[in-house]
């Protein structure tokens, strides 16, 4: 560290296999058709969400009572003014579906940020310090896992009232368990490695070791858990909204759209099938991408 020349020399030696390893990893990513498909689909959903105002043919909240329950274009009564038809209030279904992608992705990302910060903090502290802190964390995780997420979320939302941000906050504060468990074991593995011992010997502070040595090395696991947890958060929001205790009308949440269409599912099942398929496709994409990432990180776990 003192001598910049030795420092560079050491770095370059260590870097050479690192780089090729990274390239191998990338090739393994792209070599996997499933991962490519999942990631491509996910990128498509993100693009749709970002470009919603440009892509949506109509205002997702604009009602037109003269054009209610218009079926999609493949039905005889359908037309191209509303390619995917309209809902019972005459709102353009395609536009609502496009804006719905924003809600699902927002939920997935924000919930994972909250639960990721909570869970990673707990997991890293427990894994690094062990002992009593570890026991306390194990107890907290066991307690949290004993309570069904959906039931607790429903109860809390019913009491404090429901809105998009409350749903995000409640789910974020409930779903940290997997982050804590995975980050704990990842930290346990990393902390016994030579470079942590080296940093300790060099007199680095604990904060610095955790932020500078441990976190960057467990980051790949963090990303995998974040992906899979985002999918689960999106499904939970959809279920809450479906039960009427999640995102509130007139927001175009896919779960809420299914709930609104349920009453007359006998006549227009497509109003359920479209948001349902959008949800399934998004979850499918995230899961494929997440599984692919996991396999790439831990080749031994591929079977």
């Amino acid at each position: 560290m003192q001598n910049p020349e030795t420092g560079t020399a050491v770095l370059s030696v260590a870097d050479a296999p690192e780089l090729s390893e990274g390239r191998k990893l990338l090739r393994r990513f792209l070599g996997q058709k499933a991962f490519t498909l999942g990631f491509g689909l996910l990128a498509l959903f993100i693009a749709i969400a970002l470009l919603a105002p440009l892509l949506a043919p109509h205002d997702p909240y604009g009602q037109d009572l003269t054009a209610r329950n218009v079926p999609p274009f493949w039905y005889a009564k359908g037309d191209w003014v509303h390619p995917l038809g309209t809902d019972p209030l005459g709102r353009d279904y395609l536009s609502r579906l496009i804006y719905g992608a924003r809600i699902s992705l927002l939920i997935g990302i924000c919930v994972v940020i909250i639960s990721g910060v909570v869970g990673t903090t707990m997991g890293v502290l427990a894994g690094y310090f062990g002992g009593r802190i570890d026991m306390a964390m194990t107890f907290l995780v066991t307690t949290r896992l004993s309570m069904p997420v959906i039931l607790v979320a429903l109860a809390v939302v019913a009491i404090i009232g429901s809105s998009l941000w409350i749903v995000i906050l409640v789910l974020g504060l409930l779903k940290w368990d997997r982050f804590a468990v995975v980050m704990r074991s990842a930290t346990q593995q990393v902390r016994s490695l030579d470079y942590v011992a080296a940093a300790q010997a060099a007199g680095a502070s604990t904060t610095r070791i955790i932020l500078g040595e441990v976190l960057p090395n467990i980051a790949p696991h963090l990303i995998v858990v974040a992906t899979l947890e985002a999918a689960s958060a999106i499904l939970l929001e959809a279920a809450l909204s479906f039960l009427g205790l999640g995102v509130q009308p007139p927001l175009p949440s896919w779960g809420l759209m299914i709930s609104e269409a349920k009453v007359h599912m006998f006549f227009s099942f497509w109003q359920i099938a479209l948001p349902g398929s959008a949800l399934a496709l998004l979850i499918f994409a995230i899961n494929l991408a997440g599984d692919g990432l996991r396999d790439a990180i831990s080749p031994e776990g591929r079977n």
């Binding site: 004993s146 019913a158 349902g276 399934a280």
Partner: protein, 305 residues
């Protein structure tokens, strides 16, 4: 073994106590219960009266200890909406949810054991890929959407099954499929991974070398060992299924604990809400306790750790 059980039992008790505190305080601290019970447009005097009637004017800790003591004695209070005792109400609904949970678990195992075994024996073949596809789709389809597809198919188009209710066994068919399908992928992955590991183990190779027929090796030697972790997962999954029953029972108006939970939540029926959250959580604590003990019994290596 006894030491392990005692240690595990202690943890379970502590967790159950923590769960009871959370079930109680979560509902108290997130809002004024009296205001919520009184509903919109209630006068201040009404709210005060409700506070007195339900003992909400006492310190929260006293209320919790009082509630805990009564709960331990089987007194779960009076339902605000149903106007009856909560305990008999819950006991009344419990069988429906138990039947649903167990039949879903049975269905999940019936799908996943054969598929998992086949996927392991013919790893990387088309059977493996079909099994994987079922697992991937199962994890992606939202369960309420899947349930509505089943209703559309079996009730509306084919007219084979009733849409909602819980009077006959036919009422359980669709909820069981909708719920059980979601538990299957986890089992399938576990069984496939376990079988692949076991099939390459020395004792299986020995059995092969002895010339034992393939079916005997697979069922008598391999599956028996691959199935050990499934026991633990089954207990955990049953807990998840009980939680998932909230959504599924509500869709099919299946009159069990899950539907009761949903009703109590929409009617802000706090005593029922608390009781259901507590009961489902304690059942989960018990299931994981049993799973850990069963695992330790099946695999002595765990007892030491």
């Amino acid at each position: 073994m006894l030491g392990f059980i005692l240690k595990r039992l202690g943890l379970a008790l502590l967790v159950a106590l923590a769960v009871s505190a959370i079930a109680f305080f979560l509902l108290r601290l997130t809002g004024d219960v009296a205001v919520a019970i009184a509903g919109e447009g209630a006068r201040q005097a009404d709210i005060e009266l409700i506070r007195k009637t339900y003992g909400l004017d006492r310190p929260v800790v006293i209320q919790y200890l009082d509630w805990l003591w009564k709960t331990l004695n089987g007194d779960l209070g009076t339902s605000i909406y149903f106007k009856t005792n909560v305990a008999p109400l819950i006991i009344d609904k419990l069988p429906v949810t138990l039947i649903l949970g167990l039949s879903s678990l049975a269905l999940a195992l019936a799908i996943s054991i054969p598929l998992g075994v086949l996927a392991a024996i013919y790893a990387n073949s088309w059977i493996d890929r079909v099994a994987l596809a079922i697992a991937v789709v199962g994890q992606a389809l939202p369960n309420f959407f899947f349930a509505l597809i089943l209703v559309m198919l079996f009730s509306i188009t084919l007219r084979w099954l009733p849409v909602s209710g819980s009077q006959t066994w036919q009422h359980y068919v669709m909820p069981t499929i909708a719920l059980g399908y979601y538990a299957a992928p986890a089992f399938m992955r576990l069984i496939r991974a376990g079988m692949i590991e076991v099939l390459s183990a020395d004792y299986v190779r020995t059995a092969r070398a002895k010339g034992l027929p393939a079916h005997k090796i697979i069922f008598k030697h391999a599956l028996r060992n691959a199935v050990v972790p499934v026991v633990a997962l089954a207990a955990v999954q049953l807990g998840f299924l009980l939680g998932g029953s909230v959504v599924i029972e509500t869709i099919f108006a299946l009159d069990g604990l899950g539907y009761l939970a949903y009703q109590s939540i929409t009617y802000k029926d706090f005593p029922v809400m608390q009781a259901v959250v507590l009961l489902l959580s304690v059942v989960y604590v018990l299931l994981t306790l049993l799973a850990d003990i069963a695992n330790a019994w099946l695999d002595p290596r765990i007892r030491v750790a």
